[in-house]
Amino acid sequence: MSKKISAIVITGNGTNCELEMAHACRLAGFDEVDIVHISELLCGTKRLDDYDFLNLPGGFLNGDDLGSAKAGANRILHAAVAGGRERLFDQFARFIAAGKLILGVCNGFQLLVKLGMLPDLDGLYDRQTVTLTYNDSGRFEDRWVHLRANAASPCIFTRGLRGIYLPVRHGEGKFIPQDEEILERLHRQNLIALQYSNGEYREATTDYPANPNGSIDAIAGICNETGRIFGLMPHPEAYLHRTNHPRWTREELPEEGMGLALFRNAASFLRSNSF
């Protein structure tokens, strides 16, 4: 009998993709999927420790008022969990140390980056070395993009993928590394798991609108060295069924949407012996 695996989807303070994120986890076969309001974590009625897969969905944490996910990151870093001396951050650190999986989508990716949990080249979890900022267009955009997967990446989530077609829906998705050295390390260690690409997933592109935000080196998603923490700007949970595809009325498509693959990879990794 296979292992029971559980997923937590955190919501609250402006998160808004929690339902479809949880739906994706269920479709991917997680035995237990809980949407948990962050107040439950802060008052100690729920703990990250009880789950295997942490989902940080899209949305606008505190309206992204101080820059995307900034106020949200501040909360995780400094808010105390009731009934103990623990900060919420300590639970995150423990979760990572336990080798469990974290997926941040859009605002969740911004949160991971601003917390310093991605790419986390030094294993400290809390030093920010890259950022996601305002799109070159200066506007929020909802459009579908092609993403080329890096076969050499340690990323658990993109295993076996060549490319994937998903929508972006953001105003602050432009990926910028702190300096050349960081960028070079991202490339060298194959931490760049997904890049905006042309329609055939062959080449990464910096041309607008295929690269919708002007990301440096077309970076759309990165993972940490273990491949267990992964963040991306496009929304895999927005393409779970063929009717989500913008051209489903004119193309022959499989019933299952491409975004589900990421969640299936997470589930099979957690069920496998390598976890």
Binding site: T11, G12, N13, G14, N16, C17, L19, E20, H23, H37, S39, C43, G58, G59, F60, N62, G63, D64, D65, L66, G67, K70, A71, A73, N74, R75, H78, K114, Q128, T129, V130, T131, T133, Y134, N135, D136, S137, G138, R139, F140, E141, D142, R143, W144, P167, R169, K174, I176, Q178, G214, H235, E237, A238, L240, T243, N244, P246, R247, T249, R250
Partner: protein, 996 residues
């Protein structure tokens, strides 16, 4: 002491906002500038030590990878002008609020934070190194683009005298509590002229007759005796007067729709109409529901904040559309933002409360390229366009509600007032704890609890203000800025509370604030007693009447069973949402409001709600006659088609659509943009609200104000037909389609200012008659609606009235979303059909408008014929026989063919001689007539027989086929080919006008 933290981008980092502003300065103001750099400023009012300021600056307030910070000195260097824009005291500052919370969490110290933004501007230097950018230019940039004087202040700093080390002195826009809260008594025993003055000065928007009723109310001995017991006398308190003015406002009471109208039809017959609302709108719904009998899927119509219909056995749907026109005229961003988050609260405050699942927006503006002098206090249409677009973007996207459908309408008369229609749909379980959710009950003794935001002076007089035309003294406080995140936190909390059955009833605080929300819900128990002193305030110094009627956003009012109040309040605290018990519902028959121990309002519930007598109005219809245009058929119809595709009312709205999240919540099926490269214009939206089911919802709109210039009967009929045929085009079925009416009119009450009021009222009567005729003919019941009757501008001699506008919105249930059809052609070889007959109906058309004419032959809906077509088409779509389907609306068949072709990226070759038509001899008229109830559909050749059988008896014809070449090829009525145009050129013409 206050401190300033400035945050700017580091060297070499692109400042996207600065870029955007630079572009706007050049494009909108035609002032050449070289660069614009933005700097965010946080003014911190609180006891922070230098180290803590640094921690805040480098922590939550900035991004260390790309930004630099400065404390108490300036970042800007080497510029010509620096403009700093901040809020005036009391204006909602969402970013400041978030910053304050973040710093409090970081340092453990409570602080107040106020934000402002610097625009650092460098002019273009010519070779002689002369300054090209003057102070006057900077003034214009500040006042015409960057700041709205109503809510913002700005400073302009000259680069020549700038000392970055000194920077700018902190300014704290704190609201000073200028007075101790007090209640004034107003003597209404005064001459009529004085009554009128009181109404005007206080923005009560009450007529002399209404003021007299208030005066006489206090002459009843029994009432006086009761007042005496609570310490009130024979004069009215300001709180009472304000509260009655809100409740009796046109906005809340719909006096015109409920008026008794003597209607003269212009042919010598006069009829009495006892309430348009009752005799046209409600009657239609009642009759349709009777016809449906046991299959009636309407659950709650016209009685709650929104309409409720059945989705399936376990779920109900809720829908409401509102307008926020007057505030958007004054502050487009704040007005529109408040419009969308405001209408969100209607479905949310309907029945037991619904989860919000889609937004739909329709904006009516003057053309953005308007280039004549603007009347006083009117903002440039381009600024309104950008501001409204952005306000709705922030309101919708940040609330996590997909904007699935909408449209933009342009007409110069919307200069007088832009129309900002915002609609929201929701879904709720059909039962909670075994009890149906679509009804409301409140028991005497239930607690009145307010949740969400705090009360400030913002939004005072919104309801009465919107019941007037825009004038010189339109109040600043009527403008407010919504906060989608405070609202999202509240709705997250209330949905949990709802599912745990912790409250009995819910309603929203919108127009009229507490006076309205409590006043309305108190009818269910029969009275209330409430203490305003308990209400949480944004700042001190509000008078009781202000607390009572403030329209501060993000608030819901709940009736909570005292036995459950503790658990309710505990959950609110846990989820970080403010909830306060303000009083209790009673069955005393009195609306009783205190401020501490002092009674400030004591009014009988019956007087509050039913004390207003029915208005008596007269309407006289005199059909206008316009000159018939007499231009010849143009020789270049390809060029004409391109000109039509570039019309503002026809062209692509992609730049707006893309900026709205239309897919969040994961149930998107037919998106607003569709086709081979995702940029064709969908007719309607289809979404799947329950991700584990294929049952779906169709949402569509219809609006065609140009036809009002000829006859509002046909304007309304066409709007209804358009909303229905858009829904049918994607696969909706007539028998599960509900409608919403939303009337925006110019003042239809005859007065000195409005000498043509009787005509405008006749226009309203005719539109309502059409609504009755059409909805009953189609069997599409209205489930809710709204009206906004004073969409005029009057300052000095200038009066601008909008064209009478009805937005009709439809909400349909689709059994299986996998049957949905989109408008783009699919494959070469598919057959092209026209469904529905074309008549010579070009009155009010875009084609005539292009020639500067109106004409008289307005499109007329033939509902019985159309209904048969819609039912047949639905059968064909359900059977999977239709490859694409697109409705013909503005620009008629020509535009529909072009859009169908270029959306699918394949050519179309057709012959106009095959088009079912009557009375048309000219190619241009056949191409651009706007006859209603027509579609362009494409069919796979193998489906031809079945398709034609399904549509037997309807006026349909095969007119050509889809071809692999990228051209639109049209053979005319004669022997000639009249159009042979590259799709790329047609599409470019269609995409260009609004691609900002």
């Amino acid at each position: 002491m206050a401190h300033r933290i400035e945050i700017g981008f580091g060297e070499g980092i692109r400042d996207a906002l600065g870029e955007k502003i630079r572009k706007r300065i050049i494009e909108h103001l035609r002032i050449p500038v070289d660069s614009v750099q933005t700097i965010e400023v946080y003014t911190i009012d609180g006891p922070l030590a230098p180290g803590e300021l640094g921690k805040a600056a480098r922590g939550p307030l900035s991004d260390p990878v790309i930004q630099e910070t400065a404390i108490d000195h300036g970042i800007a260097r080497g510029f010509d002008w620096l403009i700093e824009v901040g809020f005036r005291p009391g204006v909602t500052d969402n970013v400041g609020k978030t910053a304050g919370e973040a710093i409090a969490l970081l340092t453990g110290k409570p602080v107040r934070v106020y934000t402002s933004r610097q625009y650092v501007i460098r002019g273009i230097r010519d070779r002689c190194a002369l300054d090209t950018l003057t102070r006057a230019d900077a003034e214009r940039i500040a006042s015409e683009l960057l700041a709205n004087d109503l809510i913002q202040r700005y400073d302009i700093i000259d680069g020549k005298t700038w000392d970055p080390a000194a920077g700018i002195k902190p300014y704290v826009p704190r609201v000073m509590g200028e007075n101790r809260p007090r209640t004034e008594e107003i003597d209404l025993n005064v001459p009529d002229a004085e009554l009128v003055r009181i109404s005007q000065e206080r923005v009560l928007a009450l007529s002399l007759e209404e003021m007299r009723i208030l005066r006489d109310y206090l002459k009843n001995d029994a009432i006086l005796a009761h007042r005496k017991e609570v310490g009130l006398g024979a004069t009215m308190t300001d709180a009472e007067l304000e509260c009655l003015a809100q409740t009796w406002s046109e906005h809340c009471k719909h006096k015109i729709f409920n008026a008794r109208i003597a209607y003269d039809d212009g042919e010598g017959n006069t009829r009495e109409i006892d309430s348009l609302f009752d005799t046209c709108i409600k009657r239609s719904t009642r009759e349709i529901r009777e016809r449906m009998g046991t299959n009636d899927w309407c659950l709650s119509v016209f009685s709650d904040n929104a309409g409720i219909i059945r989705f399936n056995d376990d779920w109900n749907l809720v829908f409401k559309v509102e307008t926020h026109n007057s505030p958007s005229a004054l502050d487009p961003y704040g007005g529109a933002l408040t419009g969308i988050v405001g209408v969100n609260r209607d479905p949310f405050g309907c029945g037991k409360g619904a989860k919000l699942i889609f937004n739909t927006d329709v904006f009516c503006f003057a053309p953005p390229d308007y280039d004549r002098p603007l009347p006083k206090r009117i903002l440039h249409p381009r600024r309104i366009y950008e501001g409204v677009r952005e306000g709705v973007e922030h309101g919708g996207n940040k609330s996590g509600i997909p904007t699935v459908n909408g449209c933009l309408v342009f007409d110069e008369r919307y200069l007088g007032k832009p129309l900002v229609y915002c609609g929201t749909g929701g879904i709720m379980p059909a039962r909670i704890a075994g009890t149906p959710t679509h009804t409301k009950e409140i028991l005497s003794g239930d607690l009145i609890v307010m949740t969400g935001g705090r009360i400030g002076k913002d939004g005072i007089h919104g309801a009465t203000f919107s019941s007037e035309e825009l004038h010189e003294g339109s109040p600043v406080t009527a403008v407010q800025i919504g906060d989608p995140i405070t609202q999202k936190k509240m709705t997250d909390f209330l949905l949990v509370a709802r599912d745990r059955d912790l409250y009995r009833a819910i309603t929203d605080n919108g127009a009229g604030g507490l006076s309205s929300s409590v006043g309305e819900t108190a009818r269910l128990s029969g009275g209330c007693e409430l203490d305003l002193k308990k209400a949480p305030l944004k700042y001190p110094g509000l008078n009781p009447w202000e607390i009572l009627i403030s329209e501060s956003q993000e608030r819901m009012t709940l009736a909570v069973d005292p036995a459950k109040s503790e658990e309710f309040l505990k959950l609110a605290r846990k989820m970080d949402v403010e909830a306060t018990v303000l009083g209790r519902y009673t069955d005393s028959g009195w609306f009783h409001i205190r401020y501490g121990e002092e009674t400030v309002v004591l009014i009988e519930m019956s007087f509050l709600h039913d004390g207003l007598p029915q208005m008596n109005l007269r309407a006289v219809w005199a059909p206008p006659r316009h000159p018939e245009p007499d231009f010849p058929e143009p020789p270049d119809l390809g060029g004409a088609l391109k000109a039509m595709l570039s019309r503002l009312n026809i062209c692509s709205k992609e730049s707006v659509v893309r900026q709205y999240d239309h897919e969040v919540q994961g149930g998107s099926v037919v998106k607003p943009l569709t086709g081979v490269v995702n940029d064709g214009p969908s007719d309607a939206a289809v979404i799947r609200p329950l991700l584990d089911s294929f049952e779906g919802i169709v949402v569509a709109n219809g609006v065609c104000p140009r036809y009002s210039d000829i006859d509002t009967y046909h304007m309304a009929a066409c709007a209804i037909d358009e909303a229905i045929r858009n829904a049918v085009a994607v696969g909706a079925s007539l028998d599960r389609l509900a409608g919403l009416d939303n009337f925006c009119w110019c003042d239809p009450v005859r007065s000195e200012k409005t000498p043509d009021g009787e005509h405008k009222l006749a226009q309203l009567v005719r539109a309502n008659e059409a609504l009755y005729d059409l909805t009953t003919a189609y069997g599409v019941p209205c489930i809710s609606g709204k009206d906004s009757m004073k969409n005029d501008y009057q300052i000095g001699e200038v009066r601008i009235s909008i064209p009478p506008t009805l937005l009709f919105s439809t909400l349909g249930k689709m059994e299986d979303v996998r049957k949905a059809v989109t408008m783009d052609v699919k494959r070469p070889g598919d057959l092209v059909y026209v469904l529905g007959k074309t008549f010579r109906e070009l009155g009010g058309s875009e084609w005539y408008a292009l020639h500067g004419a109106i004409g008289n032959g307005v499109p007329r809906v033939q509902a019985e014929t159309a209904k048969a077509l819609y039912e047949a088409l639905h059968r064909a779509i359900s059977a999977g026989l239709v490859a694409s389907c697109h409705d013909c609306s503005d620009g008629g068949l020509g535009v529909a063919l072009a859009e169908t072709a270029f959306a699918g990226g394949l050519g179309i070759a057709v012959d106009l001689k095959a088009v079912p038509a009557e009375g048309i001899g000219r190619n241009d008229e056949l191409l651009f007539s706007e006859s209603q109830s027509r579609f362009v559909a494409t069919i796979r050749p193998e489906a031809q027989e079945a398709f034609e059988a399904a549509l037997a008896g309807c006026a349909i014809a095969r007119i050509g086929e889809v071809i692999p070449d990228g051209v639109l090829r049209i053979d005319g009525l004669g022997e000639k080919r009249i159009i042979d145009e590259e799709l790329a050129a047609l599409k470019a013409a269609w995409q260009k006008p609004l691609a900002f």
